[in-house]
Every structure is written in structure tokens, then in C-alpha cells.
């Protein structure tokens, strides 16, 4: 099996989707001949022509508006937003249009073919506007699906799943891992399920939950914890919306403890939703308060980024505190 980094895995998934179905289109700012500023769409224009892989003008609301129209028409657009921080000009098209297209028309029309890809997250010295993790904004929006992969294998399988999913999917890519994360990825076509969490490590003392680049952070924290004989069950949520409550609840019923971590600020972050739902379903089984390890309630900083981030040491401390409660 070949080794790929996450960008290669994503590029490979797009290639497979475009080869298979000529209704699949890839576009966005600098996506054409340049292959995107991160090169996720490299060579796709060469292979599939300018009408199927192209640069757009610099206008996110236009990109998603155009993509909504294409999807309604029956095409399968994969639109790239250059950085998740720049998805907000398209917020109306996504939240008021994409999300509500099928519902408001009573299923006469839908934009289920749409996938929106965007690199998200910190750890790359990006400051306020190249570091944000906006998944929670979209997770409050019925009608959308929100997916975040943790490594190249997941990225390829989930992206193919997203493109073929009958609902519109926001696919947030942890850009810190684009080149840093490598692994074996099958050449051939495969899909991973949307809406299902994955238990990546079994344990008994505490459940540690995250998604995307935080999974690497969790792994490092768990290593420290296991060295102290704390047995951790690790869950990659993978889909933020809809999210796999049953898997999380099942784990917490077993461990009695839950630590959730994400990069986005605490207040209104998706960990709040998870904590609220889990305390409701696991109330009598919880042995410690559900802990959240997140970004601070500030815009994303630069020079003190390391201090700001929800890193492995903070997660480790939260695990210890939970077990010691």
C-alpha cells in the first residue's frame, strides 16, 4: 500500500471522484492550474480540463452560491474555500441556502451533491485569520453535515463518502497535518461512513474525545496518561453533524468519565453540545464532571499560539483531574 500525506490522499480522492463521474467539478480560488494554495487539487485541471476544474473569482459567497446552483442542477460540485477563516462571506449561502434547500422545497430540489472543502485549524503560526476552527458555527445548522478527518487514510475515505453523500457536506481539513501526517492509503476507491465515530483505542478509566488534528494531541496526552496507569478510551468523532451520540454514550457508560477537546474557543464550541447531551444520557454513571479542553475565549493569537492551544499537556492534565475527581 502506498504511503501518502494528507494532501496526497485528498488529491487522490478528488481524482478518483472526477474520473468516476464527470458530473464532479472542483473549483475555488487558485484551484486551477496552480492546484490550490496547498496543492490539494494539483493536476486535476490538466487531467479533467478547465471546465471541470477551475479558478473562480475571489468571492466566497459566489463560489458557494454557484456551487449550490450546480448541485441543484444535478452536478456534483466540490468547492474549495481557501481557508476556513474565509468561509464566513459564504455563511448565508451555506446556512440559509445549502442547509435548507431540500426542506423548504419539500424535496422537490436539493443540493445534496455539494461538498465544501476548507483547511482549518491552528498550529501553523497563522494568527487570527489562518487558524480558526469554525465547525461549531455549522453544527448548529440542521441540514448540513460536517466532517473532519484525522489522517490521510481517513481523509480519502471520508472525502469520497462526503462527495457521494446525498446531503451537503462541509469537509474541514486539518491543515497542520496536510504534510505532517503520513500513512498507508490504498490506491483504490473506498469510502468511510459519514455520521459514525470511531473508537481508536479502547480503555476503561476515561473517555477522551476529539476530532481532526486534536486526535494527534490526544494520542500524545494518552501516552502520558497510560504511563501513569490511566486506561484511556479514545474516540475520533469524525462527523460533527450529525454526531454519533450512541457511540460516545456507550463509551462513557463504561468509563464514567469524559474529556472532550477541540481547538475552537470554549464558549459555544461543540464540546458544549456533547457535554450537554452526554450528561443527560449518562447522568447516573458519571464519576466526574465532563471536562472540556479547548482554545481560549479570544480570537486566535500568534506569538503566544503555543500557550493558547489546547495541547497534549492540557489534555493530559484534564485526564488526570477527571480520574482524580
Amino acid at each position: 500500500m502506498p504511503t501518502m500525506n494528507m494532501l496526497q490522499a485528498i488529491n487522490n480522492a478528488l481524482d478518483i471522484a472526477m474520473a468516476e463521474d464527470d458530473k464532479v467539478l472542483c473549483f475555488g480560488e487558485d484551484v486551477g492550474i496552480f492546484g490550490g494554495v496547498f496543492r490539494a487539487t494539483s493536476h486535476l485541471q490538466e487531467k479533467y480540463g478547465r471546465s471541470r476544474c477551475f479558478n473562480t473569482p475571489l468571492v466566497e459567497q459566489g463560489i458557494i452560491g454557484f456551487a449550490n446552483g450546480l448541485a441543484a442542477q444535478g452536478s456534483v460540485p466540490v468547492a474549495e474555500i481557501q481557508f476556513a477563516d474565509y468561509i464566513f462571506p459564504a455563511f448565508d449561502q451555506i446556512v440559509n441556502e445549502t442547509a435548507k434547500f431540500r426542506y423548504r422545497s419539500g424535496d422537490l430540489f436539493n443540493v445534496g451533491g455539494l461538498t465544501i472543502r476548507a483547511p482549518y485549524g491552528g498550529g501553523i503560526s497563522g494568527g487570527l485569520y489562518h487558524s480558526q476552527s469554525p465547525e461549531a458555527y455549522f453544527a448548529h445548522t440542521p441540514g448540513l453535515k460536517v466532517v473532519v478527518p484525522r489522517n490521510p487514510y481517513q481523509a480519502k475515505g471520508l472525502l469520497l463518502g462526503a462527495i457521494r453523500d446525498p446531503d451537503p457536506v462541509l469537509f474541514f481539513e486539518p491543515k497542520r497535518l496536510y504534510r505532517a501526517s503520513t500513512g498507508e492509503v490504498p490506491e483504490e476507491d473506498y469510502q468511510l461512513p459519514i455520521g459514525e465515530a470511531e473508537v481508536t483505542r479502547e480503555g476503561t478509566d476515561v473517555t477522551v474525545l476529539g476530532w481532526g488534528a486534536q486526535m494527534e494531541v490526544i494520542d500524545r496526552a494518552v501516552e502520558l496518561a497510560e504511563a501513569e496507569n490511566i486506561s484511556c478510551e479514545v474516540i475520533d468523532l469524525r462527523s460533527i453533524l450529525p454526531w454519533d451520540q450512541d457511540s460516545v454514550v456507550e463509551s462513557v457508560l463504561k468509563t464514567g468519565r469524559l474529556v472532550i477537546t477541540h481547538e475552537a474557543p470554549l464558549t459555544g464550541g461543540f464540546a458544549g453540545e456533547i457535554a450537554a447531551a452526554v450528561q443527560e444520557r449518562c447522568f447516573l454513571y458519571l464519576e466526574a464532571p465532563i471536562a472540556r479542553v479547548t482554545g481560549m475565549d479570544t480570537p486566535f493569537p500568534l506569538t503566544l499560539e503555543k500557550e493558547y492551544l489546547a495541547d497534549h499537556l492540557k489534555v493530559y492534565e484534564a485526564i488526570k483531574a477527571s480520574v482524580a475527581f
Binding site: S51, G65, A72, R104, S105, P166, G195, D246
Partner: protein
Amino acid sequence: MTKTQDIHSPEFLRGDEFSIPTFRLLKQDGSLYEGAQAPELPRELALRIYHSMVATRVLDERMLAAQRQGRLSFYMQCIGEEAAVIGATAALDDADMIMAQYREQGALVYRGFSYDEFMNQLFGNELDYGKGRQMPIHYGSRKLHYMTISSPLATQIPQAAGYAYGQKLADEALCTLCFFGEGAASEGDFHAALNMAAVHEAPVIFFCRNNGYAISTPSIEQFAADGVAPRAFGYRMHVIRVDGNDILAVLAATREARRIAVEQNKPVLIEAMSYRLAAHSSSDDPSGYRSRKEEEAWREKDPILRMQHWLIDQGWWNDDEEKALQESLRREVLETMKRAEKRPPPPLESLVSDVYADVTPALQQQLDQLKRHVRQYPDAYPKGVRSLDPDVAAGHDAADHNADQGGK
């Protein structure tokens, strides 16, 4: 890179240099302007257009009255703009996609949306294609290639560009026509749409209904330029301004626009100059922001009367036919309204379907919980409880109608 002429003194242009003329064919009395030539318009098509205009007007008048009587929560009229909307639609292939704003019910009438179909939407009953989810006037029809209306303004404009681009790739020789108001054209989505359509050569017709107002805001507080048409220069886009109350001019202009769109894969902008004769909606009262006199001046330019005069001149129409048409339409509106009012609401399940292609487990749980709750308090939720009672649900005839009206 741009290659233009050089100048050596700092001369500022202001746009006034380039006034865009208005294309007109038909005078109010039904005769043509000197030098004007009517587009090809066989009697049958002319009558289809005229019938649609009248049917739209009758619907509008009746439904506003129904709203006033408290039978309907909300309504929006097309009055005064029937020629713009129906003329544009008649210039299209019936399979072209229409993405409208909300004041274009005439397009649906022209394409054959029945009064029953209108009424089901207006009353949000179980036969409404939109399953009673949107406010009145948010029609849609898949079989008639009419995209379901969405309230947020201008969002359909870039969508139309994308839809048309997809049509081009599918090589269907079809186009998309996108209606919007001169107010909506202020939104960022307008700029995004026209630019993307021009760059990517999408076969889309951007049809701006400049009716002088966006709710209370007159167009001089909407933009400083002479209308919306001059914006086309910013995108190197074909553009024409047309008298929106002139059915022949609208038809001719839109036909030519369609030819450019479909044959050359180029977007076109049409600005139809008209006037919103009615209030913005049933919630609005225009007396606070404009004068009766202004309204009266425009009432004299009524597009339906103008076409009627022309038809009579052609010998294709007469007063008796007019009377008969009006009467039969009025009767039909009343009958269909009564039918629709009586129909039950959509079932409780419709609250959670179509959020996703399949109902998610979490939504199913929310529905089950709601059902339990409604059963507990049946009197508090008369609409909801109905669909919980299997006898009631089975007893009526709605299911039979569903099959042939779904459109999808």
C-alpha cells in the same frame, strides 16, 4: 493585461456619458411606435400570454382580499409587472430553468401551475409541494422547472449562474433565467453572480425587475446610477433596458437574450423598467412613503390593458371574451381556495423529513418525543394531533392526489 488608449491629463469619467436607452415597441393604446416591429407572435401564443397575465391579476386580487378577510396569513402581488414576468417567461423554452425572487407568480401561471397548486402552497396544506414549511407565495415546481422560492434576497442569483453553468456542461441547449428586484441587486450576491457568470460564460439571463421600490426604499436611495443596467459594463456583459410594461418589447428582448445565452454561452442582463402598483406585501401600506399621484400615473401604464388593446387591434380578442375569461377565472380561484382551505395540514412527520435525504436517528427521536407530547396534550396541538390519529389520516382523499401532483 488591459490595453487601452492613453491620456495625459487627469480626466475623470462619471458614467453619465453612457446613458442606456429603453427599448419599447408598444404604446399604451396598443399601437406600435414608429419604426417598431412586433416580434413573431402567433395568435395562440399571444392568447396564452394574455390569459396568463389576466389569470395572475385575478389570483392576486382575490388572494389579497382573502388575506384581508383573515383567511390567509400573507400575500404578495405582481400587479403592474405581469408583462415583465410573463413576457420574459414566454421567450424561454419551457424547459429552461427559472429562478425567481417572489413576485413572479405569472411565470408559473404561464407554465401551467394550476390554481389548485397555488392554493395548496398558499394554505400550506398537506398537498403543498413544500409541505407547509414556507410562508405563502414560496412556490416551486420541479416539473415546470421553477425553483422553489427562498426568502433571503439575491441568493438565487449566483445559484442561477451555477445552474446555467451545469446546463452548459450537460450540453442541453437550455438556459436559466433569474428574476430579481432592483433592491436585491444591491446585495453582494448580485456582484458575485454577474462576475462569475461572465468569467465562466454561463448561459444565464439576469432579469432585473426595476419596479422603483424595495419595500419603502425608492430606487434613488438604492443606487446613485441610472438604474441597474450600467453595471453590466463592469462585467463586459450584454445588456438591454426594456419597458417592462410592454409585453412585445420584453418578449423580443428576452428572446434575443436567450439566443445570446444559449448560442454563445454568454450571460445577459435585462433591466425591465416597471412599477410595483400594489403594496410591497399584504403587511405593507405604501401611503407612508409614496403618493397616490405617482401610483395613478403608473396605473395608466397598465401592462395588461396595453396588451389587451393590441390584441383587440389584431382582431384576436373582444370584450365578451374578456368578460367570460374574468368570470371563469374568478370562479375558479374561489373554488380552489375553498378546496385548499379545507385540506388538512401536512402530517407531523413532515417536521423532520427532508432535513436530510434520510431522517437521522436523532431526528426520529425528536419526532417520537413530539408525538408522545402531542398525544398527551391533543387539544393544544389540533393540527399535529390529526396526523397521529390513523382513522382520520386514512379517511381523507389526500393520498390519492399526491401521486400525480408531486412534480418530482
